[in-house]
């Protein structure tokens, strides 16, 4: 492989990106504009009620009058909370940081005692044994932070005393992670998705570039030179990875200036950028598939949305708790795993060695490389490189 050939074509692609106003707009400006549009227009998608996976850590071993079990059943009966009981707090916290559950309810050791004391003297607060339920909410989900605390509070109120409607009860709820999450704006919840979706528009640019070069005879002309198909494809992949890197830097700088400043280590940033770069491979692959199907560059623009929209809608707003149907479908788009990993890293403060990050990384790597290879094979089958 001759590096001189690869680099000259890479340079050419970068010049194209910065010199053609339409490409420049689509790659760098449009994603930013779309962020604002989404921020304004994004509402509850789908009519299905979202279900929040909620962990319960039961520290009350007395189980007097079986209050704990009844409380857990009451939580389950909401149909909105999918309850999973944990034997220890550490495992539950680990699952929360990896996005496997959206909240943890920690039942204190004095829970049953407190309720018993209350029922023995419901009119005399001085005889109550007070207890506090701790609630940890997924900091990466704006909907979870808004919906779960009020829901749990309602269940608790109803459970303590359904008939007397007293506002005073011996059991209080302390929302542990809400103290921090209150500082996050809606914009910050969207930030991980923004890193992902800026790169998605590479699909359209790749599809247009390949069809345009076919239309104006450049592809044919390049093929009369000694450049090999490997050199050519390497130059294309390299240039679009560089474009994705520039996009990620621009998007990060923008969101940083607006106020998104996650307290994470440098290594986490490195991993985040690596994820975006690997993700760009799938977009080059989808772009090549589009260029294979489309006969003209204008057709390529339209057809590219077949890949752009699912990647965009299903994969860039993981924290938005979409409908349950979408929550199943979105597992089939690579962008979901990128946004999920970035949300875990930036908002849930998961470590880079946590199982969910590693799993997302592996899925993103395998799926993106597979899509790129499929794109190259399909394109090379119908149009010579």
């Amino acid at each position: 492989m001759k590096l001189q050939r690869v680099l000259t074509l890479t340079k050419k692609e970068l010049k194209k990106t910065f010199r053609e106003p339409a490409v420049l707009f689509m790659i760098f400006l449009f994603p930013v504009l779309l962020v604002f549009a989404f921020g304004v227009s994004f509402g509850g998608l789908g009519k299905t009620q979202p279900i929040y996976a909620t962990g319960v850590v039961n520290n009350d071993q007395e189980n007097m009058a079986n209050y704990t079990q009844l409380f857990i059943e009451a939580l389950s009966n909401t149909k909105i909370l999918s309850i999973q009981v944990y034997s220890d707090d550490q495992t539950a916290q680990s699952d929360l940081s990896q996005g496997k559950i959206q909240a943890i309810i920690v039942i204190p050791s004095t829970f049953s005692q407190s309720l018993t004391s209350y029922h023995l003297a419901p009119e005399d607060p001085s005889r109550w044994i007070n207890a506090t339920i701790s609630l940890y909410v997924d900091k990466g989900s704006i909907v979870a932070t808004q919906a779960i605390p009020s829901l749990v509070q309602q269940v608790l109120n109803a459970f303590v005393d359904q008939t007397q409607r007293q506002t005073l009860t011996p059991i209080n709820m302390q929302i542990a992670s809400l103290i921090e999450t209150e500082q996050l704006s809606a914009f910050e919840y969207m930030a991980p998705g923004m890193f992902t979706f800026a790169s998605i528009f590479i699909i359209m640019i790749v599809a247009q570039a390949f069809t345009q070069d076919r239309e104006n005879g450049m592809m044919k002309r390049i093929r009369t030179t000694p450049i090999t198909p490997t050199e050519f494809m390497t130059s294309q992949v390299l240039s679009y990875m560089l474009i994705a890197l520039i996009q990620a830097i621009l998007v990060f700088t923008t969101v940083y200036l607006i106020g998104f400043k996650p307290k994470i280590d440098l290594i986490v940033y490195v991993l985040a950028f690596m994820l975006v770069l690997i993700f760009s491979l799938s977009n080059v692959g989808f772009g090549l598939i589009t260029a294979t199907i489309a006969k003209t560059s204008s057709a390529a623009t339209g057809l590219s949305f077949l890949f752009v929209l699912p990647q965009l809608f299903l994969g860039t707003f993981v924290g938005a708790s979409l409908s349950s149907t979408v929550q199943i479908v979105d597992k089939f788009v690579p962008s979901y795993y990128v946004t999920n990993a970035l949300t875990s890293l930036f908002l849930r403060e998961a470590t880079i060695t946590s199982p969910t990050i590693l799993l997302d990384f592996v899925i993103v790597s395998i799926s993106c490389i597979a899509i790129l290879v499929i794109g190259i094979i399909l394109y090379a089958k119908y149009y010579k490189i």
Partner: protein
Amino acid sequence: MNEISILMDNIVKRFEDVIAVDGVSLQVKEGELFGLLGPNGAGKTTTVNILCGLIKPTSGNAMVGGYDVQKENTKVKELIGVCPQETAIYPYLTGAENVELFGNLYTLDKNTLRVRQKMLFEKMGLTQDAKRRVEKYSGGMKRRLSLIMALIHDPQIIFLDEPTIGMDPQSRRAVWDFMVELKKESKTIFLTTHYMEEAEALCDRVGIIDRGKLIALDSPKELISKNNVRNLEEIFIKLTGRRIREEI
């Protein structure tokens, strides 16, 4: 001078039910300026595409520079320079950047690239416009730039597919003069054109192709003499009953 540079042996190319090239056999010697003449759709570009290895012939063999076009395509590509019929240039790059790109694809070193680039831009009268983006160029300037891109690596065998189509007389004259210079440097030139006066003025030998078949092959003088006509245009009318440029 007597080495065979280009050889076509009974080349046939079918596109579904259309025969674009129908059993064409010819040889072009080293240092020869050969012209393939014919109307639009006669099979000229398909012939060039086969010789450059862009498309596979349905049957027959082609050799360029002593290499089998299909089996030793990379070797062939290192020897040839191709100026396609369409002005295939990147409009968002400057003239100089387009030429540098092609120089780099042929892995020229920086110094050679700079020297060749300067010489070719001067010869084609584009020095003043080298740093301008191609989207600002006129049609004639684009075609001259396309020629520079094909020649930047100083190829031994040059394929020029309708290089002067749509050019103004001044640009056409510049290209003609340049082709004469290339011939003096013993370059083998395979030129396709439907301008009979161009072929008559420049080519050592011409082949006339119509509907994929080679219907005449000799030097312009010999063809005119044998057919007892005044020019190549009249030969085409005599052989086919049609004018070569009647559709234009």
